[in-house]
């Protein structure tokens, strides 16, 4: 490890491909003889397909196939679940029966020689339904919360219930208390790239060029659905046009593309429309929460109660860590958390950037701000007074925790000291100015991963992992890790990802790619160096001939005896002598002992300034500063970019994003990029992301904690608290809209 390339702010290695249009995303893999499939989506929210008349469209020019539940092949749907799928319930079996479980569920596919013809025929397909009224609003009277079964299991990362002390008693007798409810709208990921799959069969072997954050699971899932060997399926996805969680699971369209391709005997391209992106590809569930805090007059928490529920489908129990952070964020002797689900006639939700924490910490951090105002304490000071020494939920130390350092750096960079405490006390001309703050946290996960490294005669190395890069810079950061470990230049490392026949990687989400895949690459690099050393010590011409291979060390890509200055053979020379590349594969995972001993999380402090127009109610974020303790930063340039991107996602969550369902039939009414608002360039203020110095010797060998999720987590509560500071009005629903602050 001599090059010091880890930690350098290097530009993206895939930048050129992305700015020149040569980076290929799923729908860019046009195949010879390819035809087009279009999904027909149910236009009722619950019920049954009673009739499908395809005779009129079958005679349209260019139509090749119309597949419905009546003529679709019965698929094996062998049991398959990864950790990314809900543990309880069963995935949608697409076109296997006449049931419609939610609005927009696929009910047919049309295949034609051109896209225009396929779209026309799909629109003209005559389908009759027997419709019932779906229930899509968790606040409807007859929606009973249920206990998520998986969250009651031993070892689950989500806990249906947790408790310490006597939270209800302590709340009742607390000198200061508050008890508030929070409602966060359903959100859709809306990556710029729609889901897409190009499917082609060769005999009983299937190739899928498919948008996926988890290619090895897509491979296994499709093999299970079609009842074919896993090795017969190849999933290829070198680039992902954003995903934020929506491509973690393998959704029905992948099955439909493969089904259609098999039926018509040609390669089939299937791309979801933007509208269909609101139907079957998951969403951040709407959540309803209650936070009650009790405190002593000095602000020390004596009780913390956090109850929350998220919506899920009728056929799967999607769970997320909605209330987890309330257990460890602050010191408090009496804590109770409760997490429930509300099954509705909707498609199954799934993880969306900062899943669970983004919603749960919103409620907690807004409540903390309310408590600060109830007690006339500065909001930052309130957090300081409740800083815990250990994780009191797990009763074990943090592997590292830099929250207070984040508050120091963030306060300083933001200029928190210039803020006046009173709501409505700051103005810029006509505009009401507000400054708000919130803590952020996200677990530092690590999952088992494998990597392969191949040394080549020209001195370069090929590194392969079935990992993904949806934008954070996996290509670049993993190239850095391999270059550092092998002592090579970046140009000498060729890192490849996004193929299911590469060594398996975990899903690309949960901020664990760096920790998991990076650690695997580190292990594989160590393994290949050992293998190369074995070769070096048996080569008679080598200066290290006869040396025990453990005694060989590598300096700038050359072997030498430890402590000896004489340089030995390079990787390339050893490969030349061997006559074949030197290759090693290795796996890594977290030491379970470490996990038992330490609580491992990233922390951050987020500061936001908003301007509210007192006349027309418009709310604009003017600037924001986030300070984060995320362990080691492999590439500060990419990390900062990823981080400000997450903060922008938080602006969307706070002020714009929501998917609105029509209660009559469950249709998403704003399933359109002009109606589902996300921030545009003009919405974006000056954003600063800072990473505090944090060395974590426990979390993993690279010392990294991950960044993608926490970057979004604290932003929405910081903004909501800033809106309160500006206007004096507490808004406990997201998104916060003009009319919420109009009468202030």
């Amino acid at each position: 490890m001599t090059t010091g390339v880890i930690g350098k702010p290097l530009p993206r290695v895939d930048g050129r491909a992305k700015v020149s249009g040569s980076a290929r995303y799923a729908a860019d893999f046009n195949q010879p003889g390819q035809v087009y499939a279009v999904i027909v989506s149910a236009t009722v929210g619950l019920g049954r397909v009673t009739d499908i008349d395809s005779t009129a469209i079958e005679v349209m020019p260019g139509i090749i196939a119309v597949i419905t539940h009546r003529n679709a092949p019965r698929l094996a749907y062998d049991e398959h679940k990864s950790y990314i799928d809900p543990a309880v319930g069963e995935r949608l079996h697409v076109l296997q029966d006449d049931r419609v479980r939610f609005y927009g569920q696929p009910v047919a596919i049309v295949v034609a020689d051109t896209l225009d013809r396929a779209e026309r025929a799909a629109a003209a397909l005559n389908i009759a339904y027997e419709a019932e009224r779906p229930i899509v609003d968790p606040l409807e009277r007859n929606v009973e919360p249920i206990v998520p079964e998986a969250a009651t299991r031993e070892g689950s990362w989500v806990h249906a219930d947790s408790s310490r002390g006597d939270p209800d008693g302590a709340l009742a007798s607390a000198p200061a208390k508050l008890d508030e409810a929070y409602d966060i709208a359903r959100e859709n990921h809306n990556p710029m790239e729609p889901h897409a799959t190009v499917a082609a069969w060769a005999g009983d072997r299937l190739t899928l060029w498919s948008k996926s954050q988890f290619v090895v699971n897509e491979q296994a899932e499709i093999a299970a659905i079609f009842g074919i060997p896993v090795a017969n399926v190849q999933v290829i996805c070198p680039f992902i046009g954003g995903a934020f969680g929506t491509s973690l699971r393998t959704w029905p369209h992948v099955t439909l593309a493969a089904m259609a391709a098999r039926q018509v005997g040609r390669a089939v391209k299937l791309v979801l429309t933007r509208k269909q992106m609101f139907f079957t590809t998951g969403h951040r569930p709407r959540t309803l929460q209650r936070v009650a805090l009790g405190a002593a007059p000095d602000g020390k928490l004596v009780s913390l109660i956090h109850e929350g529920s998220g919506e899920t489908s009728r056929y799967e129990e999607f769970i997320e860590a909605l209330t987890n952070a309330s257990g460890y964020m602050y010191s408090c002797p009496n804590v109770r958390t409760e997490y429930r689900l509300r099954p509705l006639d909707i498609g199954t939700p799934n993880h969306m950037r900062g899943p669970g924490e983004a919603s749960g910490i919103f409620a907690l951090e807004c409540a903390m701000d309310e408590l600060a105002y109830a007690l006339a304490i500065d909001p930052v000071e309130l957090r300081r007074r409740n800083e815990p020494a250990i994780d009191e939920a797990e009763n074990k130390p943090f592997s590292s925790r830099s929250l207070m350092k984040c508050y120091d750096v963030g306060s300083d960079r933001f200029g928190w000291a210039n803020r006046t405490y009173e709501p409505r006390s700051m103005r810029d001309g006509r505009l009401l100015i507000g400054m708000g703050v919130a803590s952020a946290s996200y677990p530092a996960y690590q999952a088992p991963a494998s990597a392969r490294v191949r040394l080549r005669a020209d001195g370069s190395a090929e590194v392969e992992v079935a990992a993904s890069d949806m934008g954070p810079g996996t290509y670049t950061s993993m190239t850095q890790v391999a270059a550092e470990m092998l002592g090579l230049t970046l140009e000498q490392v060729h890192f490849r990802l996004g193929r299911s026949d590469y060594p398996p990687a975990p899903s690309h989400g949960g901020s664990w790619t760096m920790a998991s895949v990076g650690s695997a690459i580190r292990a594989a690099c160590l393994a290949v160096k050992t293998e190369a050393a074995r070769r070096a010590v048996v080569d008679e011409r080598s200066p290290v001939f006869g040396v025990a291979h453990e005694e060989v060390e590598w300096v700038d890509g050359r072997a030498r005896r430890r402590g000896d200055a004489a340089p030995g053979p390079s990787y390339g020379e050893l490969v030349t002598i061997a006559g074949a590349p030197i290759e090693a594969e290795a796996s890594s995972g977290r030491d379970p002992e470490i996990a038992k001993r330490y609580s491992m999380h990233a922390f951050g402090a987020v500061f936001a300034e908003v301007a509210v127009d007192p006349d027309v109610g418009t709310i604009r974020v003017r600037r924001a500063v986030g300070a984060y303790g995320i362990g080691r930063v492999v590439n500060p340039r990419l990390a900062r970019s990823q981080c400000t991107g997450g903060m922008i996602g938080g602006i969307g969550m706070a002020l714009m994003e929501r998917t609105v369902l029509d209660p009559r039939d469950g249709r998403p009414v704003n399933a359109h990029m002009a109606d589902y608002l996300v921030p545009v360039n003009l919405d974006i203020p000056m954003l600063e992301a800072h990473f505090v110095e944090e060395v974590d010797p426990h979390v993993n060998p690279l010392g990294v904690k991950g960044l993608g999720e926490i970057a979004l987590v604290g932003m929405a509560p910081a903004i909501a608290n800033a809106v309160f500071h500006a206007t004096g009005k507490r808004v406990r629903t997201l998104p916060i809209r003009i009319e919420d602050v109009l009468s202030v």
Partner: protein
């Protein structure tokens, strides 16, 4: 999208003849192609009118003339427009995106269809795409919908920003059709939905918009366009207001006001105008006058906030006219 035959007109006469025989005009296509893809629009014949010499922007005496095929971006950037009627430029660049403004024409902008989500969905009842089928928005979700000029059959707002400015400025338009040419106020182009919401404008079959004519405001005119929305750009208005005041000394001699996002058509606010004339501009005067805007309003549960937001937007737009240098 349903198949269609595409023709190209070389002259206005050709275009009008084709349209009289059932063809639809297409120019920028930003509304039509979008809605054809949803199959809400189903023309069997399209006549491409982009080759017609109607893209001119010029001044005739004290009238600003905008060719119907002038692109939004070209009008907004034109020095004469910026000099004589900056309100038009301001309303234009607040709309859509730079790319769409490069495509969309002045004529097409005025004739753009509504943004009601149910109108875009063929599987929802909508009296615009199927007269008599009902209005899904009235009992459904209607936060963006109109509070003025609604009927029991339709509550969709007219989405154009430009039209709001033109209506405020008493612009007229010249159209040409099988029966010859005629001119009328832009304000008269738009129909109220009543019980025929599928009829949105007063053009006769085959009529082609040739140009829009905007009388100059005079040097005492101060005008602003204020568009209120949840994000800073690339969004239709929740409420917008075009406001133009002409002063005589310290007193308002003439007021022109129109609103968008609140009406089923661009909404001229004449009662507000009348309440302002002869008064010295101050906030109390503005507030009192602005309340008159919503006297006739018929809000529904989700767009009730517009009852408050419209007057506030009027007040703010009026104040902004005073901030014009």
């Amino acid at each position: 999208m349903l198949p269609f035959v595409l023709e190209k007109a070389k002259t206005a006469e050709e275009a009008i003849a084709a349209a009289a025989a059932g063809a639809r005009f297409i120019a920028g296509g930003t509304t039509l192609v979008d809605l054809m893809r949803e199959e809400v629009e189903r023309p069997e014949r399209l006549v491409d009118i982009n080759a017609l010499p109607l893209a001119d922007i010029r001044v005739e005496g004290d009238v600003l003339v905008l060719g119907a095929l002038a692109r939004m971006s070209d009008v907004a950037a034109h020095p004469d427009v910026q000099r004589i009627q900056p309100l038009i430029a301001e309303s234009l660049i607040e709309g859509a995106s730079p790319q769409l403004r490069n495509m969309a024409t002045i004529g097409g902008n005025l004739l753009q269809r509504v943004r009601c989500p149910y109108f875009r969905m063929l599987d929802a009842p909508c009296n615009k795409h199927e007269p008599g089928s009902g209005c899904a928005a009235i009992d459904g979700l209607h936060a963006g919908h109109a509070i003025l000029g609604t009927s029991n059959h339709c509550i969709a707002t007219h989405p154009s920003d430009l039209a709001v400015a033109l209506v405020a400025l008493d612009a007229t338009m010249r159209v040409s059709g099988p029966q010859g040419e005629r001119s009328f106020a832009v304000d008269d182009l738009f129909r109220l939905p009543g019980d025929t919401p599928h009829l949105e404008h007063t053009l006769l079959p085959g009529e082609l918009i040739m140009e829009v004519r905007v009388p100059a405001g005079g040097s005492s005119r101060r005008a602003r366009y204020l568009k209120v929305r949840d994000r800073a750009s690339y969004e239709f208005a929740l409420v917008s207001v075009a406001a133009a005041l002409s002063m005589e000394g310290r007193v308002i001699r003439q007021a022109r006001l129109a609103a968008g996002g609140v009406g089923t058509r661009p909404w001229r606010l004449r009662p507000v105008e009348e309440a302002l004339i002869g008064k010295a501009p101050d906030r109390q005067v503005f507030e009192a006058a602005a309340q008159l805007a919503v006297r006739e309003a018929r809000p529904l549960p989700h767009n009730h906030y517009k009852l408050e937001l419209l007057p506030r937007t009027i007040v703010r737009a009026l104040e902004m006219t005073g901030e014009v240098a």
